[in-house]
C-alpha cells in the first residue's frame, strides 16, 4: 500500500515510515505567529528560558494593521523588539496577511509548517504539511524546533469536469464543506487532486487549502507539480521547488469525487460555513456591505475577476464595498494593472493589505441587523465585530456582482455584458 501526501512529507522529515494514526515528534521547518497569538507564544518561550530560537520564526502584524488602539500597538511593538533581538523575521503592518506572505516568500514543498493561526493550512497548496496550533504549541516549537503530531487519516478530494465561467475555487470548497459538514474532516487531511486541481492556478489551490480547516481538517494538501514550480519561479525562488505527489495506491480514509461541470456559484449563509446554498436559492437577499479580500480571496486573480465585473459599473447605493489586497505584492500588482482604479471609480474603499474587516478588530464593523457578503472563510456569529450582524460567504465574482446589484446576485448575469 502506498502513502498519502501527509504520510510522505512527515516520513521524509523524520527519516522513517509513518502511517495514519501514528504519533510522532517531528522537526518544525517554519513557524509563524501574529499579534493576536504571538504574545502568548512569547510568554511560553520566555517561561522555558532558552536563549535561542529552535527554528525559522516569522511574526506578522496583520490582524489589526495599522493598529487601532494602544493595547495592540504595544503588542506589535513587543513582537518587533523580540524579533530584532532573537533573529525572527518581522513583517510590519502593511506587509500583508501572514498566510499570503508565507505562500509568496517562505513555504516550500516537503516542509512541516506550524502557525498560531488556524488558516496556516493554506500553505498545504505548496505541498507543505502546514497546520494551525495554539500559542503554547507554537511557543514550545519556537523553543525546541519540534512538535508532536498525530499522522492524520486522509480524505482524498478528486475533482473532475470543467469549471463553468465565473465559478471558482471558492465555489468548489464551499460546496465541499456543505457536503462534508463543518466537522466532517476533524483530525483529517484533505488531499485535493484530479484534473481540475491539476489545471488550477496556485491562487485557486491556496483558496481550497485555506478553507480545509472549515471542515475541521488538520490541513489541506495539493501535490507539488508544474504549477507549483512555475509559481515558485515567478516568486524568484525556483530553487525551493521539489516535486511531491501521493502514491497512486495510497490508502485513503475516504475518496470524495466531485464533478464541477454543473456547479453554480455557492453561498454560505449565517452563521455556519457549512450552511451552503447555490446562488439560485438565495439571490435577491439584501446586503449592506461587500468585502473582497482576506487570506481566502484577496489575491490578484480574485481582484481581477472582481474588477472585470465592476468595470464600468457603480457600487449600488444601498451598500458599501471594501476591497483589501492580501499582501503588498498583490496591492502593487493590482495598482499597476489599474484594478484599484476600477474599484475606486466604482465607489469602493481600498483597505491596507491585511486581515481588514475579517475578524472584527477594526474596519468594516457591521451595524445591528446588517448583512455582509464577504469573500472570507468564516461567518460565525459575531465574527465581523457585531453579533447583531450576519455574514454570507461567497466568491469574489459573486461578491462583485452583489456589489453592483445591491443584493445577492449571480455573477453569471454579467457574462454576456
Amino acid at each position: 500500500m502506498g502513502y498519502t501526501l501527509a504520510e510522505k512529507i512527515i516520513a521524509q522529515r523524520i527519516g522513517r515510515e509513518v502511517r495514519a494514526g501514528d504519533f510522532v515528534v517531528a522537526p518544525v521547518d517554519l513557524l509563524l505567529a501574529h499579534e493576536g497569538t504571538g504574545p502568548l507564544a512569547l510568554d511560553q518561550f520566555e517561561a522555558l528560558g532558552r536563549d535561542g530560537l529552535g527554528t525559522t520564526t516569522l511574526f506578522f502584524c496583520d490582524h489589526a494593521a495599522p493598529s487601532p488602539r494602544k493595547e495592540l500597538s504595544n503588542v506589535q511593538k513587543r513582537l518587533r523588539t523580540f524579533a530584532l533581538e532573537m533573529g525572527a523575521h518581522f513583517h510590519p503592518p502593511g506587509a500583508g496577511i501572514c498566510h499570503q506572505i508565507v505562500a509568496e516568500q517562505w513555504a516550500k514543498p516537503g516542509q512541516i509548517v506550524i502557525g498560531a493561526d488556524s488558516h496556516t493550512c493554506t500553505a498545504g497548496a505548496l505541498a507543505a504539511f502546514a497546520t494551525g496550533m495554539g500559542s503554547t504549541d507554537v511557543g514550545v516549537a519556537m523553543t525546541l524546533g519540534q512538535t508532536w503530531l498525530k499522522i492524520p487519516e486522509t480524505c482524498r478530494i478528486e475533482v473532475q469536469g470543467q469549471l463553468p465561467p465565473l465559478v471558482e475555487a471558492k465555489d468548489i470548497i464551499l460546496y465541499l464543506i456543505g457536503l462534508l459538514g463543518a466537522d466532517g474532516g476533524i483530525y483529517k487531511a484533505l488531499e485535493f487532486g484530479g484534473p481540475v486541481i491539476e489545471e488550477m492556478s496556485m491562487e485557486g489551490r491556496l483558496t481550497l487549502c485555506n478553507m480545509a480547516v472549515e471542515a475541521g481538517a488538520k490541513t489541506g494538501l495539493c501535490a507539488a507539480d508544474e504549477v507549483t514550480r512555475r509559481f515558485l519561479e515567478e516568486q524568484g525562488r525556483g530553487e525551493d521547488y521539489m516535486p511531491l505527489a501521493p502514491d497512486p495506491d495510497a490508502s485513503y480514509e475516504r475518496v470524495v469525487e466531485l464533478d464541477v461541470s454543473q456547479l453554480s456559484p455557492q453561498v454560505a449563509l449565517p452563521h455556519l460555513v457549512d450552511n451552503v446554498q447555490p446562488i439560485e436559492e438565495v439571490a435577491g437577499t439584501s446586503i449592506s456591505q461587500v468585502f473582497i479580500g482576506t487570506c481566502t480571496n484577496g489575491r490578484l486573480s480574485d481582484l481581477r475577476v472582481a474588477a472585470s465585473i465592476l468595470r464600468g459599473h457603480r457600487v449600488h447605493p444601498d451598500l458599501r464595498l471594501l476591497v483589501g489586497p492580501a499582501s503588498r505584492q498583490t496591492y502593487l500588482a493590482a495598482l499597476r494593472e489599474g484594478l484599484l482604479e476600477v474599484f475606486v471609480e466604482a465607489g469602493a474603499v481600498i483597505l491596507p493589505p491585511g486581515c481588514g474587516a475579517c475578524v472584527g478588530v477594526h474596519q468594516g464593523v457591521l451595524a445591528d441587523g446588517e448583512r455582509c457578503l464577504s469573500t472570507q472563510n468564516r461567518n460565525f456569529h459575531g465574527r465581523m465585530g457585531n453579533p447583531q450582524g450576519e455574514i454570507f460567504l461567497a466568491s469574489p465574482a459573486t461578491a462583485a456582482a452583489t456589489a453592483v446589484k445591491g443584493q445577492l446576485a449571480d455573477p453569471r448575469e454579467f457574462l454576456e455584458a
Binding site: 493576536g36 497569538t37 488556524s118 504549541d137 508532536w148 475578524v359 465574527r383
Partner: protein
C-alpha cells in the same frame, strides 16, 4: 490535576465557535485575561460569564471550539474556573489547546444533560456521572501523550519537567 472533578453543568449546543467563546471584538483585551474572561461565551449565553462558579463544567454538542486557533478560548474558560468540558466532539486545535493549558476536554455522549445538572467526571476511570439525572456515560481516554501533558498541568509545565516531549517513542 485532580482525577475526579465535580461541578454544575452549563449547557451549550453544537458548533460553539471560538468567536462565541472569546469574540474578536475584544481582541485588544488579549493581554488582560481577567478582563477578557468577563466576556466568555457572552454571545452564546450571557449568564455564563456573570454566574459561572469555579469548578463548573461546560457541556456541549458537536465540534466545540471550532474556528480560530486562539488559545485564549481555552484560557478564558479556565480563568472562569471551568475545569472540564464535555462534548460529543471537539475542533482539533481547541482540543489540543485545552490540554496544553491544563483544561480537561472530555469526549462523551452529552444527550440528556441539562443546565444546572450536578456532574462528576472521573478522568482516570473514564466515566462521567450525571448525579441529578442518574446517568452514567463512559468517555474516550486521551492519547497517552495528551494524558501526560494534562496530568503535568499543561504543555509548558510538561516540557519544563521532562526537558522535551516525554513519551517520544511510545505510540
Amino acid at each position: 490535576m485532580e482525577k475526579i472533578l465535580r461541578g454544575k453543568a452549563w449547557r451549550f449546543g453544537d458548533g460553539i465557535s471560538t468567536d462565541h467563546i472569546t469574540p474578536g471584538r475584544y481582541y485588544h483585551l488579549r493581554g488582560n485575561l481577567q478582563a477578557l474572561a468577563e466576556h466568555t461565551l457572552e454571545d452564546a449565553d450571557p449568564d455564563f460569564a456573570r454566574h459561572a462558579q469555579p469548578g463548573d463544567i461546560v457541556v456541549a454538542g458537536k465540534n466545540f471550539g471550532q474556528g480560530s486557533s486562539r488559545e485564549h478560548a481555552a484560557l478564558v474558560l479556565k480563568e472562569r474556573g471551568i475545569r472540564a468540558i464535555l462534548a460529543k466532539s471537539f475542533a482539533r486545535i481547541f482540543f489540543r489547546n485545552a490540554v496544553n493549558v491544563g483544561l480537561a476536554p472530555v469526549l462523551c455522549d452529552t444527550d440528556g444533560f441539562e443546565k444546572g445538572d450536578e456532574l462528576e467526571v472521573d478522568l482516570e476511570k473514564g466515566v462521567v456521572r450525571n448525579l441529578t439525572k442518574g446517568l452514567e456515560r463512559s468517555c474516550d481516554p486521551l492519547p497517552p501523550l495528551m494524558g501526560a501533558i494534562l496530568a503535568d498541568g499543561g504543555l509548558t509545565a510538561h516540557i519544563m519537567k521532562h526537558g522535551g516531549f516525554k513519551w517520544e517513542n511510545t505510540p
